[in-house]
């Protein structure tokens, strides 16, 4: 076992997860392929969404894959960074909006 939890070479081995459970892996990769096709949203738009989500879930493999993919599909550096800010704003907002819950609780118990 490697000393690092993450290894960029492992990204290429993603497809190998089927070695341990082929049926579910096949279903997942079929679904994955279908999701990213041009449809109501273009493959290009989906790539930018994937980039933002990759940052939200902080997956280094996904960031690697979708930084290349989004740039290849023609998104500019500034557009890609704005997408990351969207992820950041939602994550930050998700914490902050819970402040209302905190306020509710404090108001409930405070004199």
């Amino acid at each position: 076992m490697n000393n690092n939890y993450y290894n960029s070479e492992d990204l290429k081995k993603f497809g190998n997860v089927g070695e341990f459970q082929k049926n579910l892996a096949d279903k997942f990769f079929d679904y994955y392929g279908e999701v990213f096709k041009d449809s109501e949203l273009t493959a290009r738009e989906k790539s930018l969404i994937a980039l933002a989500v990759a940052h939200a879930v902080q997956c280094p493999y996904c960031i690697d894959a979708y930084s290349s993919d989004a740039y290849e599909k023609g998104w500019s550096e500034a557009q890609m960074m704005e997408a990351v800010h969207v992820a950041c704003a939602i994550r930050g907002g998700a914490s902050l909006v819970h402040g209302v819950q905190m306020m509710n609780k404090v108001k409930e118990i405070a004199m």
Partner: protein
């Protein structure tokens, strides 16, 4: 090149690898790198072996239809990805005598129905207009690969759009992206702005407009170490963006993969992207694209009259593998029966949707 010209080009940064005396301007050095560097953890499978698996080896021509003529390495631009290593300092251009030999071949080989003229900037060859007119007399469809900025580079080129129109030339032009930033990074400062002006001039004469019969196609090349996206989707984006921002019309977009040759190879090595890029190309090998590669119906002629399987083999100085090696001894039967020379660079034409001078092949 005189010393003064060399200094002038050096100052403007407009000088080829050849002009700088770089090792990599040597075709043998390039081949050595392509054939011998191991690609990371992936042992690069030789291209011919992939073809063997696809039952395409040795690679044989279908009938040769496209006569691609590279009439010189001279160019007004020095693009970072140029596989020709073209530039203002390059003086190798086709002579009128060699052009005359090409015309003779066209007369005796009717199956060569498309003549594709490229460079450098082919228009910088002083015999360019005469040559095009002579080819048109033989009734061939003529494509000129025009870099657009040449039209504005000097007064003597301003009427090129008119010349193209008069002779019903299909114009194929590089515009690596529909934004200034990516285009100028690849092709040089100010190239995008001048390309837009040139496209507007061509549109003004009817080029790229519906029902005009005047064909204007654009070429996309990735501005970096990555592969082109879907040609069809990209064409739609180009059309929307160019129409919306600049009122520009064109017919088709050709998405072309950069081959690891010459200045693009230099870029890959210097940016430490070579191994990753080769791995990408190899992983993306597509047997259907291999079946449709352009070298199967094209013959490429160099500025000095030598014959090659394609413009890339030309730049790697890999002359056709048969007795007939020069335009003066052109023998179509021999050429149709030759084995096409392949190497690791060929993975560039078989990756993904494939790549040719006419874009994707799948």
């Amino acid at each position: 090149m005189t010393e003064n010209t060399a200094i002038k080009h050096e100052k403007t940064g407009k000088i080829s690898l050849h002009g700088r005396g770089y090792d990599l301007s040597d075709a043998h050095k390039q081949l050595e790198i392509l054939e011998h560097i191991q690609s990371g953890n992936l042992v690069p499978e030789p291209f011919y072996q992939k073809l063997e698996d696809t039952r395409l080896y040795p690679l044989k021509p279908k009938e040769i239809e496209i006569f691609q003529l590279n009439i010189g390495k001279m160019c007004n631009q020095v693009c970072k990805h140029c596989h020709v290593d073209a530039g203002p300092d390059r003086k190798e251009i086709m002579t009128r005598e060699t052009m005359q030999q090409c015309l003779e071949i066209l007369k005796s080989n009717v199956q060569l129905n498309v003549v594709d003229i490229t460079g450098g900037a082919p228009e910088m060859n002083p015999n360019f207009r005469w040559f095009v007119e002579e080819i048109k007399k033989s009734g061939r469809h003529v494509i000129v690969r025009c870099n657009l900025t040449i039209i504005l580079a000097n007064k003597k080129y301003y009427d090129l759009p008119q010349f193209y129109k008069e002779h019903n030339i299909e114009v194929v032009s590089s515009l690596p992206f529909y934004t200034q930033d990516r285009t100028d990074r690849q092709r040089g400062d100010g190239v995008f702005e001048n390309s837009i002006k040139a496209l507007q001039m061509l549109n003004g004469l009817g080029y790229g407009k519906e029902n005009s019969g005047l064909v204007l196609n654009l070429v996309y090349n990735p501005a970096g170490a990555f592969l082109p996206p879907s040609q069809m989707a990209l064409e739609k984006e180009y059309k929307d963006a160019l129409l919306h921002h600049y009122d520009i019309h064109f017919n088709n977009l050709f998405a072309i993969t950069n081959l690891p040759i010459s200045r693009f190879l230099d870029y890959l090595l210097k940016s430490d992207n070579y191994e990753m890029y080769m791995e990408k190309l190899i992983t993306a090998y597509n047997p259907v694209a291999a079946f449709n590669v352009m070298c199967r119906n094209t013959i490429s002629v160099g500025w000095d009259g030598y014959l090659y399987d394609c413009d890339f083999n030309q730049m790697l100085e890999l002359k056709v593998n048969c007795k007939t090696k020069h335009i003066r001894e052109f023998n179509v039967d021999e050429l149709n029966n030759r084995d096409i020379i392949v190497g690791q660079h060929c993975y560039g034409c078989t990756a993904g949707a494939g790549s040719s001078c006419g874009g994707a092949v799948v």
